[in-house]
């Protein structure tokens, strides 16, 4: 499989930078161009700003296992000075990267001439202090911290706390709390490993800190539940403060019910009042004040419900789709198959299916909404369920924090879409 399959996409806090991580352990950062009056249609395009190798494949000698270099998640830190910082993680190791600009270079040596020849030591009659001269902008990435050896299982999430000094990392059974300055220790705050592994029935699938309340975080499970924990009440957060689970609809129970209820992503809204969960067929919005059921449920690709058997056989049923909020929380987006992605406007209750593909759309042209035909007569521009390409999955999407700009990762291609300027 190709090493440049994109495995994560994330905008920074201002939206000026967009980071992608791929299966080969590389991180590519795009920067939004400053608005240029002479080129009104390139209203802030994203161009490559920096590329670096974040993780390399490793071998765990003790367990005879290969550790993949694939970047599972990237999270930006809030900007604290001229440089930019992000956390990137593979299955086992989290790294803090600093991305900084250099635009000056020192000139003037004592021991060498201008053309590089060594000077005679006895001829040095005066000392020269180097002067800094401008040079072409150089963007450098350097690893500042490496947080390793704290996870037995594969890391699926990282999340930075609103206190800007701690972050959490979650694997299948445990969640650890780290301090950004301390690499040799982390605190375990959730541990759901049963004493007897044969009693294991659910795993942690995602975790996130609340955007404003430094003591609150949530984690989702493979059984379709979300637990909210309060770090104030105790040091070890094994007991949750809130438990979110929608009661199952007995009429739709099937062999696959539990599998498709597994939550693949959980995200707080920017306001901090709501959270969104993504399971295989739907996206649900929950009010944090109500644990008994979600306040909104949006069907992503309900037409797949009758195809679950074949999706189980080709493993697609285990695909982990992410979801994201728009900057104002008025819209949500998530991916699907055939390079389709879905956007739901929570106010107007309208939804749209769009496609990220070079063949079916030209740059800067408006995207045409797509429709999947679920049975009966297929209309002209529709596509039938059986023609969907299940290898073209959109698992990772991101929404600019303030504007209507979205980034969509389609296998090894990154698409950036913007609201049309009138």
């Amino acid at each position: 499989m190709s090493a440049d399959i994109i495995s994560t996409v994330e905008f920074n806090y201002s939206g000026d930078l967009l980071a992608t991580g791929d299966k080969g352990g590389r991180v590519v950062i795009f920067q939004r161009e400053q608005e240029n009056k002479s080129r009104p249609h390139s209203r802030g395009e994203y161009n490559v700003y920096s590329t670096f190798q974040s993780h390399e494949p490793e071998f765990d000698y003790l367990k005879s296992l290969e550790i993949e270099e694939k970047i599972n998640k990237i999270r930006w830190l809030p900007q604290q000075n001229a440089a930019h910082f992000l956390l990137s993680t593979n299955d086992k190791t989290i790294k803090l990267w600093k991305i900084s600009e250099r635009d000056k270079r020192a000139e003037g040596y004592n021991l060498k001439d201008e053309d590089g020849r060594l000077r005679d030591p006895f001829r040095i009659t005066a000392l020269r202090v180097p002067k800094l001269k401008p040079m072409d902008l150089m963007v450098e990435a350097s690893p500042r911290r490496i947080f390793a050896n704290a996870h037995t299982y594969h890391i699926n999430s990282i999340s930075v706390n609103s206190d800007h000094e701690t972050y959490l990392s979650a694997d299948d059974l445990r969640i650890n709390l780290w301090h950004l300055e301390i690499t040799d220790r982390s605190f375990n705050i959730v541990d759901i490993k049963p004493v007897n592994m044969e009693e294991l029935t659910e795993v942690i699938t995602a975790a996130e800190f609340h955007p404003h309340q430094c003591n609150v975080f949530v984690y989702s499970s493979s059984k379709g539940t979300v637990r909210l924990c309060d770090m104030r009440s105790s040091a070890l957060c094994d007991r949750h403060s809130k438990f979110f689970e929608e009661p199952e609809d007995p009429s739709s129970r099937s062999f696959f019910s539990e599998i498709i209820s597994s939550i693949s992503d959980v995200k707080f809204s920017h306001s901090g009042r709501y959270m969104m969960t993504r399971d295989y067929l739907s996206v649900k919005v929950w009010d944090l004040n109500m644990e008994s059921r979600p306040v909104e449920t949006h069907q992503v690709h309900e037409y797949l419900r009758s195809k679950l058997c074949s999706l189980y056989e080709n493993d697609c049923i285990f695909d982990k789709f992410e979801c994201c909020w728009s900057g104002s929380d008025s819209a949500i987006m998530t991916g699907s198959y055939n390079n389709f992605f879905r956007m739901f406007d929570r106010n107007t209750r309208r939804d749209v299916t769009l496609e990220a593909s070079r063949e079916n759309s030209k740059p800067r042209a408006s995207l045409k909404p797509r429709k999947v035909c679920t049975g009966g007569k297929r209309k002209k521009d529709e596509i039938s369920v059986d023609s969907l390409d299940f290898n073209k999955k959109i698992l990772h999407t991101a929404w600019h924090p303030a504007e209507n700009i979205i980034a969509v990762a389609a296998t090894n291609n990154l698409y950036i879409f913007q609201d049309k300027v009138n």
């Binding site: 809030p78 900007q79 604290q80 000075n81 001229a82 440089a83 910082f85 600093k98 900084s100 250099r102 000056k104 020192a106 040596y109 004592n110 021991l111 060498k112 060594l118 005679d120 030591p121 006895f122 001829r123 040095i124 009659t125 005066a126 000392l127 020269r128 202090v129 180097p130 002067k131 800094l132 450098e140 500042r144 609103s162 206190d163 800007h164 000094e165 300055e181 404003h212 309340q213 430094c214 003591n215 770090m231 104030r232 009440s233 105790s234 040091a235």
Partner: protein
């Protein structure tokens, strides 16, 4: 930069004009940009040499501007630079020019690496002292204002550390501005900045006029203590100590105590933990009356807090709390208000809490006196001595000297022995190791008779433990015991048992004999070493295991200086020479080394 030609290896100067005295400085300057970070670091550490060679003017006009803009470097280099600049006043022309050092330090104060920023702030504080009041207002205060209103969080956090040094000597108008800036940082949007402000609140309060403390600092403190971020609130607890030291009892009661009471009951266990952790400082700062009325009830709650971490932190402070109570009436307070809560902790569910208590509880006996100790504390000691957690038991044993002073150890010794034996045989080797460390202390307190009757066999058993670290510690232990109890005791009780091991079928035990001899020979003296130990060592030179043989060589090297020349020449030398011809290469090596070190070759 490619390797520079060393002096004298380049083309020879024709006619001998010019000298190469500038050459080393030239090298240093060029190495400021070398790719090798160690060379850059080296040059930065010798910055004063460069500055001296350049002279004050060139340092000011060329070197400092260069350093101001090259902050792309590794932390170690930036840290070294920040440190150097703190001492640079003389090199830029004295106090009149101290302000020239501000630009590079201002850059360093915006770096994200905390250690570098902190060092830059430290150097700035140092340099501020060298500014005249006029220079302070003309240069330093503007720098502080720039940092305080900077775009970057890092500049604003650094600014927090600079207010207290420029405030005292500023004019009244400027003082008002400084206070204004500090106020805005206390309510900055970013938790990072508010944390920095909270941690500097106490130090700033100390340099302010009392009126300002009451009218401005106290409200800031109250706000920070109810900040939405836990990490800010817990720093306010620390600030509380400093502020409390500045106020009168009435002001304290009205202005600070409400906030402190709130902190002791904060919803976040981390804030309550801080209160427990800072308890002694708080106690001293608020004085005995408020302690009695407010702090002791708060402490009682902390001792029964629902979070174990908080209970453990409070347990750690029990002894200090009691010691710091005024002597008059202290016994009653402790007996009635502290002791009942401590009794509960002895059977706490969490082992860290019990362990924390065990490490301080013995210290209470000196405060409470003999009778109270026997009646009330002794049962607690005995209960903890039987605790299932080894750390709890170890903590009791390590603090026995306090009790010994008050009631004598006999009261405890009956329970002590089973506890010691159990620890000495614990399955975890680190537990066994810990009790060995305490053995000399115990032996001293319990006396040689008790030791011989009850503990001697334990010490011998450790010598043949499966774990090397234990055998090694046991050997050291014997040496300390010999120093305590004397050579005659050693000769009668220990030496014979050690020497018997020389014929043990396990070669590791035979080697232990040699290690013991190494450790004991000096303490035992020449006679015992020559008459009893040396023959055994020499006999082991014929051991069939090479490891034993080369350790014989090493032992002879070790004990050689204690022996007399006759023994060395007649007994040691022939054996070492024989070992020098051994078939094993290591044996040969160590034998030859011993011969050469002992000057017998």
């Amino acid at each position: 930069m490619a390797g520079a030609a060393g002096p004298g290896t380049g083309p020879v100067a024709a006619g001998g004009d010019g000298d190469d005295s500038l050459y080393p400085i030239a090298v240093l300057i060029d190495e400021l940009r070398n790719e090798d970070v160690q060379l850059r670091l080296n040059s930065i550490k010798k910055l004063s040499t460069i500055a001296l060679a350049l002279g004050v003017e060139r340092t000011r006009t060329e070197l400092l501007p260069f350093l101001t803009d090259t902050i792309y470097d590794e932390d170690e280099v930036l840290l070294a630079l920040a440190e150097q600049l703190g001492n640079f006043t003389g090199l830029v022309g004295g106090p009149d020019f101290a302000h020239c050092l501000l630009p590079p330090l201002e850059s360093l104060a915006t770096v994200e690496e905390t250690v570098v920023r902190d060092k830059a702030v430290e150097s700035l504080r140092q340099i501020s002292q060298e500014h005249t009041p006029i220079a302070l207002e003309a240069h330093f205060v503007p720098l502080v204002k720039r940092l305080a209103s900077g775009d970057w969080f890092t500049s604003r956090t650094s600014a927090c550390g600079l207010f207290s040094v420029c405030y005292p000597r500023a004019s009244n108008a400027v003082k008002a501005e400084i206070r204004q800036h500090f106020r805005s940082l206390c309510s900055d949007d970013t938790p990072m900045v508010r944390r920095a402000a909270a941690s500097k609140l106490g130090e700033f309060a100390k340099v302010l006029e009392l009126d300002s403390v009451k009218s401005e600092i106290v409200p800031l403190f109250t706000n920070l203590a109810s900040d939405e971020q836990d990490s800010v609130r817990l720093l306010a607890v620390e600030a509380c100590v400093s502020i409390a030291q500045l106020l009168s009892q009435e002001d304290l009661e009205a202005l600070v105590m409400p906030t402190l009471r709130q902190a002791a009951e904060d919803k976040s266990w981390r804030v309550r933990y801080m209160v427990a952790d800072k308890f002694s400082e708080l106690q001293k700062a608020v004085g005995p009356k408020i302690t009695l009325n407010d702090l002791i009830p708060a402490f009682q709650n902390l001792l029964k807090d629902c979070e174990a971490e908080v209970r453990a932190a409070a347990a750690h402070k029990v002894k200090e709390l009691c010691e710091n109570l005024p002597p008059e009436g202290r016994e009653t307070i402790i007996m009635n208000q502290i002791l009942p809560f401590i009794k509960e902790l002895v059977s706490d569910t969490n082992q860290h809490v019990k362990s924390a208590l065990a490490s301080v509880i013995m210290g209470l006996s000196t405060i409470l006196g003999k009778e109270n100790t026997i009646e009330h504390l002794l049962p607690l000691f005995l209960a903890q001595l039987k605790d299932e957690c080894p750390e709890v038991r170890l903590n009791i044993i390590s603090n026995l000297d306090c009790v010994n002073e008050v009631i004598g150890i006999r009261q405890l010794s009956q329970s002590l022995l089973p506890a010691i034996v159990e620890l000495a045989e614990d399955a975890k080797w680190r537990v066994r190791l810990a009790i060995i460390e305490y053995m000399p202390l115990l032996a001293g307190q319990l006396g040689v008779q008790f030791f011989d009757e009850k503990l001697n066999s334990l010490c011998m058993a450790w010598l043949v433990d499966h774990v090397y670290a234990i055998r090694e510690a046991a050997t050291n232990n014997l040496m300390k015991l010999v120093k305590k109890f004397g050579t005659e005791w050693a000769q009668n009780t220990i030496v014979p048992k050690v020497l018997v091991m020389a014929s043990d079928p396990n070669y590791l035990h035979r080697m232990t004999t040699l290690f013991c001899i190494n450790a004991l020979s000096e303490a035992c003296g020449q006679e015992i070493t020559t008459k009893q130990m040396l023959p055994i060592v020499l006999k082991m030179a014929g051991d069939q295991v090479a490891n034993v043989r080369f350790n014989v060589a090493k032992s002879l090297q070790k004990i050689g200086p204690i022996l007399d020349t006759d023994a060395l020449q007649e007994e040691v030398k022939p054996i070492l020479q024989k070992l020098g011809q051994d078939e094993d290469v290591d044996v040969k090596y160590f034998a030859q080394e011993a011969l050469s070190v002992l000057a017998l070759a």
